[in-house]
Subunit: 474 residues, 2 copies
């Protein structure tokens, strides 16, 4: 498109002045995300107010051959929802589609616009003694549409599943602007191919999700949190199997935390005190929650006792109040801030079978230490999901200009170790742009053919979030 | 293919004599299923012994343009895995692929051949203090591959989900004979489009599943069963919400049973005694199960007490032993036998939002009774899934020759009521052939286009289980 004026005029007529942003200052908010990734400036930012407007905007783009970047709450970690550097993509922000459409506490479902902020959906569910159990650090800003596009995970996956297991129905604007309405509120439905599964985790490359029916759970009315000192990663995975059984599958979180993270947390939040009397190489932060008459306190005490008898657990602190529980969780949050303060570092988001976690951590650590002895390794994660954030902090003394290449090199070596464990290079963050190279290099020819075929089937013109997951078609 | 001799010779060379069946008597076992559906005779029955042999058989068919019918344990209910009447389809039975390949109790996974019988997979899990929680009436004969192809449900979906939520990885022979190996044992994996979701519920129309990694749970070491007398369907759905909360989501089953089913059960199994002192219009059969230190007995007693206080529950029997629990479950099983004895009747497998169950049952009953006052309605099902088997027994006096058309007419009227509740005409059985007409008539043009596109992408020659879900391409 050489002259974009008619296209912009058409969008302005459709959306009104507040529905279209063109000034660079006002657009700045839409070009970077939480992780600090920034690629470039969009052609414009469209802010449709409802599904019909999204459909009209997409129809315009389809007719004119304009590429689209659907955008949620800017908390992605793989640059999947940022406009390309070429200035040719129209950002379509879902932020104005933010209504809870309906809630049915008897059916345990809520129907929402895709632009609803996760936290608001949780609050709406609370009002009916229900919970939408997806729990993420970014829940105060991320949007349901982004959670769907990335098949979001988070802290409570071991109990409630990923976003895929929490979605019953979808409303999607397809790349040509037609609306596929499939807002079923059915817990069971086996009518042929389940197309909505394709949109879950497709990172906005097959269409724009505008609405969804989500599955709710009863809201737990009690929970207990414990922080345990552990001798080894092996003890952590052993304890996990015990905890699944002895806690009746009421576990909502079971986090592996290395000693270094406790120190980073205290660095970031100096009022935190070392949580246990001694120092341990590894820690487990765990939580159980229930909705009915169960004595969670004695359940946890009993688990700890068994764990200590079997020499899996060395020491533990059980929170006896919500305040104490919040203090224990503060370590999990502050350790992230502690990492951020160290500046540029390698973030990974990988998964292996749970049984492989101990060997993987050992082998990967050996490889990284051999390649770069002055690095610091921070391996923490969600044990029940086999999901580790095996992160690497470069030496403090290293020049900033050298860090990127060095970390990239370490990531490649780390991923080679991961391949031997049949692991995933992206457990929950997705592929976007930043994981595309290692993703593509591991894709078999059959997979490449099928994945490309799915993309071409839904988006034959290649206009919907091009260059994410797969390279843009030339 | 006018002369099939070279094709048969090629298969015989590949599979040996025991791997290929051609005699009509020996083939008879492969042409009908549990429900009594029979369509015709196949070209032959191939019984490959491993994935490589499946791939070779499929390659032959692809080269020669021979249609294929993948087949599991003959317990389907929509004639999806039976060879067509035209004698042109090769049945590919998975029954010889029946090995448990690996079990990893720390990762809570088991890797199996697709021909493994569900019961055997459960037994293999028990040996490691785990459970594969899919529970079906047909579990002694149905195969994992069929469970995957139909996205099987069953009794415990409210706790553990459908088959879709229990599958982590797949191995599939594609319609051209290439093997797509994606046997990941990862609980979290967000690498691009999740292709395996398409095979789940695709009823063998996109490829042949030959292996799978399944998710295990800890094996419950205690459970409690209760049978409750209820005043109304509304009381049943109200109690369900209470039970989800007061039983800490430890519910494994919550079945709605009408009075007529208790009578049918006693007709079929005369040693059964009426389970409660009085007669109630509706019953709930429920079960809770746990792996740890929870007092399930007092949990259930407390629920009953609350239910009675709120006048939701009128009476109840709590099993105090495994034998008593088995007796209560006997009603659920015998009532199916009681229905079978009534000969030809309308079986449906529908779903609505849980909150709509009372109104749907009332309206649908009114419509059926108005159209055919001498019919008997038997509406039972899985409340937590919104899944009802709203079945209709024709009048005893009706001539057999009239029944089929009459029941078909009633089914259409029933489905019209269902449409008003945004329900599904197939909650767990799938589409196959027998539900194809009502499925297609409800498919929107967009859906028809996308579903056909997916079929064409995976199976461009249209040879894989043609005519199931979608009509065969001409």
């Amino acid at each position: 498109m050489t002259d974009i004026t008619p296209f912009i005029n058409e969008l302005t007529a459709l959306l009104g002045e507040r529905g279209l942003i063109r000034e660079p200052d006002a657009m700045a908010r839409y070009v970077s995300d939480w992780a600090g990734d920034t690629l470039g400036m969009p052609l414009a930012v469209a802010r449709p107010g409802n599904t019909a407007e999204v459909a009209e905007v997409v129809k315009c783009c389809y007719a004119q051959g304009v590429a689209m970047t659907p955008q949620g709450g800017h908390s992605g970690l793989v640059a999947g929802a940022l406009p390309a550097a070429n200035g040719q993509e129209l950002v379509i922000s879902l932020e104005r589609l933010n209504n809870v459409r309906a809630i049915d506490p008897v059916n345990f479902t809520i129907t929402v616009d895709a632009g609803c902020i996760l936290e608001n959906v949780k609050l709406a569910a609370f009002d009916h003694d229900c919970d939408f159990p997806l729990s993420l650090g970014a829940q105060g800003s991320c949007q349901i549409g982004g959670n769907i596009a990335t098949n979001a995970g988070g802290l409570n996956v071991l109990r409630y599943g990923m976003m895929r297991e929490l979605v019953l129905g979808l409303e999607v604007v397809l790349p040509d602007g037609r609306v596929w309405e499939s807002l079923n509120a059915l817990h069971k439905d086996n009518r042929g191919y389940d197309l909505q599964q394709l949109f879950l985790g497709s990172e906005g490359t097959l269409g724009i999700v505008t609405g969804a029916v989500l599955k709710l759970s009863p809201r737990p009315n009690q929970n207990r949190t414990a922080l345990l000192g552990m001798p080894s990663v092996q003890a952590v995975t052993d304890l996990y199997g015990l905890a699944r059984r002895d806690c009746c599958d009421l576990l909502t979180a079971f986090e592996l935390i290395p000693r270094r993270c406790i120190e980073l947390a205290i660095e970031a939040t100096p009022e935190l005190r070392d949580p246990l009397d001694s120092v341990y190489p590894w820690y487990v932060l765990m939580e159980v929650a229930a909705t009915g008459p169960v004595d969670l306190g004695s359940m946890l005490e009993q688990l700890l006792e068994t764990g200590m008898e079997r020499e899996l657990v060395l020491d533990g602190a059980l929170a006896s109040s919500d305040t104490q529980a919040a203090q224990l969780w503060q370590f999990r949050e502050s350790m992230l801030e502690g990492q951020r303060r160290r500046g540029e570092h390698l973030r990974t988001d990988i998964s292996v079978p749970i049984s492989a976690i101990p060997d993987f951590v050992r082998q990967a650590s050996e490889v990284v230490m051999a390649a770069s002895p002055e690095c610091e390794i921070i391996a923490y994660g969600h044990v029940g999901d086999g999901n580790l954030h095996f992160n690497i902090l470069p030496p403090m003394a290293m020049a900033n200009s050298d860090k990127k290449a060095h970390l990239h090199d370490l990531e490649e070596q780390l991923f080679d170790v991961l391949d031997a464990f049949h692991g995933s290079i992206s457990a929950e963050h997705g592929i976007g742009r930043t994981k595309q190279a290692p993703y593509l290099s591991r894709l078999s020819p059959i997979e490449r053919e099928l994945v490309s075929g799915v993309k071409a089937l839904f988006d034959p013109k290649g206009l919907m979030n091009p260059g994410r997951i797969l390279p843009a078609e030339k």
